[in-house]
């Protein structure tokens, strides 16, 4: 129970809480970035508006795109979108769901930036100070200011230290007014996005809840399947590597044997001490320094091919090729014997053999099975009746001819 809970938490946390955490961190980062950013209005009529609006909008876009970059699910969405159909059709609602959930998370940091910028008011002040109605805050008449000079004066409002028109217009009053408008916009913006989010989250169960559950399940499934595929590929490559290296050692040890006349150790009885046996096994037949040197040399100069031989002794491998469908060879049935199934039987989803015999006497057979090695002389071969499939006696552990439940 605890294990289940922990596993579920790990799974769940891996997906959603992790993304929520990143989302929260980015929101805090955006607030902090604004606080540490030194706002620097140019106080010139031509550039004020661009600077003010630019500061408001461009970092928001940048945070939005950063949200996409940091989100792992984006590559998953792209993969699912771009892949050919194969045997599994594509469901556009799932793609839409994934895209919407990614966008929702990416929109939080830009929203925080925009609301903090609007609440603070500096960018609004910078952008719109030239649009103030002068008569509301001061008295422009009587000073003989031309249109252009007035505009230039208004543009200097955001900059406390260079403003020189306090007789014309009250700088504090104008600043306060614009900031108040900016804050009103900020609160309205927050209210709007909260209402939209509320509509989406709280009212949604009234509409198509069943379809929503379906899309949520399958989009999680796609993520889990991707991870599972990577896991199984890793497992596979580990086993592949292990067997490959084992076979390489065995092949070298096989060569060495013909020089040194060693006898492989696994003929011994099963009653040996298990630890001793496994240590012997781990040596994989390499027991001398020159053998090991040869192993290491060959590993670099002559790597084995990426093709695992079926298990068994290599010198008997060539005899495999004598097996054919009619089973008329007398040399089938080695450790690594395989038999071919005609496509016909595959369609019916069952593999049928009428009768299977093992061709040895009981004692010999069991002995050779347990020892894991069969020499040719000791067993006989019988063939399956009926379909003419070759049978094989199973020498090593893995082989059995079998019935299947119909």
């Amino acid at each position: 129970m605890d294990k289940f809970r922990m596993m579920f938490q790990f799974l769940q946390s891996n997906q959603e809480s992790f993304m929520n955490g990143i989302c929260g961190i980015m929101a805090l980062a955006s607030a902090q970035l604004y606080a540490s950013f030194e706002f620097n209005c140019p106080c010139m009529p031509e550039y004020n508006y661009s600077y003010g609006v630019g500061i408001l909008v461009i970092p928001a876009i940048w945070f939005f795109m950063l949200g996409f970059v940091l989100n792992n699910n984006v590559s998953m969405l792209a993969e699912e979108w771009k892949r050919p159909n194969g045997q599994r059709g594509k469901d556009p609602t799932i793609l839409r769901y994934m895209f919407i959930s990614i966008s929702q998370r990416s929109l939080i940091a830009p929203a925080v930036w925009i609301s903090v910028t609007l609440m603070d008011g500096k960018s609004f002040l910078c952008a719109y100070s030239v649009d103030i109605d002068v008569s509301q805050f001061g008295n422009a008449t009587g000073y003989g200011l031309s249109e252009e000079e007035l505009v230039r004066l208004l543009a200097k409002i955001p900059c406390k230290h260079i403003f020189d028109g306090s007789h014309v217009i009250s700088r504090e009053a104008a600043t306060r007014y614009i900031r108040c408008v900016s804050q009103a916009f900020g609160w309205l913006f927050l209210l709007l996005i909260t209402v939209i989010a509320f509509m989406i989250r709280a009212i949604r169960p009234c509409f198509s809840q069943a379809a929503f559950l379906k899309t949520k399940y399958w989009s999680h499934y796609i993520d889990i399947e991707r991870k599972m595929f990577d896991e199984i590929c890793t497992e596979h490559s580990k086993s592949f590597a292990k067997v490959c290296i084992q076979q390489y050692f065995e092949s070298i040890s096989g060569e060495m044997r013909s020089f040194h006349g060693h006898v492989r150790g696994d003929d011994s009885d099963d009653n040996d001490d298990e630890n001793h046996k496994s240590d012997e096994d781990k040596l994989l037949g390499i027991r001398a320094q020159e053998d090991m040197n040869k192993v290491l040399w060959n590993w670099h100069t002559c790597k084995p091919p990426l093709s695992l031989k079926k298990e068994g002794n290599t010198e008997e491998h060539s005899l495999l090729n004598n097996v054919n469908e009619n089973g008329t060879t007398g040399q089938a049935g080695y450790d690594n014997a395989s038999f071919n199934i005609s496509p016909k039987s595959l369609e019916s989803n069952t593999i049928r053999f009428d009768k299977v015999d093992f061709g040895t006497t009981q004692n010999n057979f069991s002995k050779t099975l347990l020892n894991g090695k069969v020499s040719m002389n000791q067993h006989q071969h019988t063939f399956v009746n009926g379909d003419g499939y070759p049978s094989s006696t199973i020498a090593k552990k893995e082989w059995a001819v079998y019935y299947s439940k119909v």
């Binding site: 769940q12 159909n85 108040c180 609160w187 709280a202 596979h236 696994d266 989803n349 015999d357 439940k405």
Partner: protein, 329 residues
Amino acid sequence: MDRLKLVLQYFQSNSESISNGICVILALVSVKLYTSFDFNCPCIPQYNKLYALGVMFVPPVILFLLGVMINRHTGVMMEEWARPPGQRTKNPAVIKYLFSAMLQRALLAPMVWILVTLLDGKCFICAFSMSVDPKHFTGLPNNTGLDLVKILAKVPCKEDIIFRNSSFRKAVSRYVRCYSQAIGWSILLFLILLGAVARVIKPCFNHAIFLQTRYWSNYLDIEQKLFDETCVLHAREFARKCVVQFFEGMHDDMNLRLPLPHTLRSRKGNSEYEEEERLHGITRKDQMDHLLQTWYQCRPELDVTKEAYKPSVCITWEDHKGHIIYSDV
């Protein structure tokens, strides 16, 4: 049994105390938001009231909506309300209970904001400085040429020059702030009294039914959590079987390799058998390349029936005379 109890307790506490925790966090967030918000009264007669009342009431609406969204019970309640009856009839008492619980928690943060605003007083001063009767206060600046309303409207703004060397502004501010704090404390007292009375009197009415509805609403919450958990675990199993089936379907020659029954396996074979099992029959580079290519080009269908219900093999062992030694059939 003990473990089960622990788990149940965890689930029980999980549902309610987490909601309580989130609710308190939201209240703290609202206080922090207020302290970091730079209140900026326009000091213009037409806009003062609008701005101040806006600041006092718009953030509570936002906080309320946030409180409703963040609460888990909202989803549970909406689902229970909107679902078709199916084979389980709906209990309106449970829905009502969930609704009232959600509402109570969601109202905490807005109330905190309003109370902090009133106790601080800036909003009130901004909104109502113009309604003050200036006759009660001395020191009204009368040499500025502005009318009374405009002067009163400038009271919230400290740095304005017309109030230099005058105690008028401070006096009016203090007066309005005093009103604001009185209202704030009264509201707080009223709410606390209401809460206390409600808690004390509640057991007098239908306590048994209340226990039932509370149990079933917790149950709905736990059921939904478990459903989500089970879906995730199922998806994982499904994915694993689907991928294994895909690997095993990539054999180019149908070499069937199946395990011997346990009794006939030699000891050395066990670990190698596991390795081979994990290979799922893919033993060559080109097979693997083909597999990876096919995974992208031709995703397998979502059907693991063959893998989940593999026909089990029944083996019959016979000796050379044809006598059955052992049979699975």
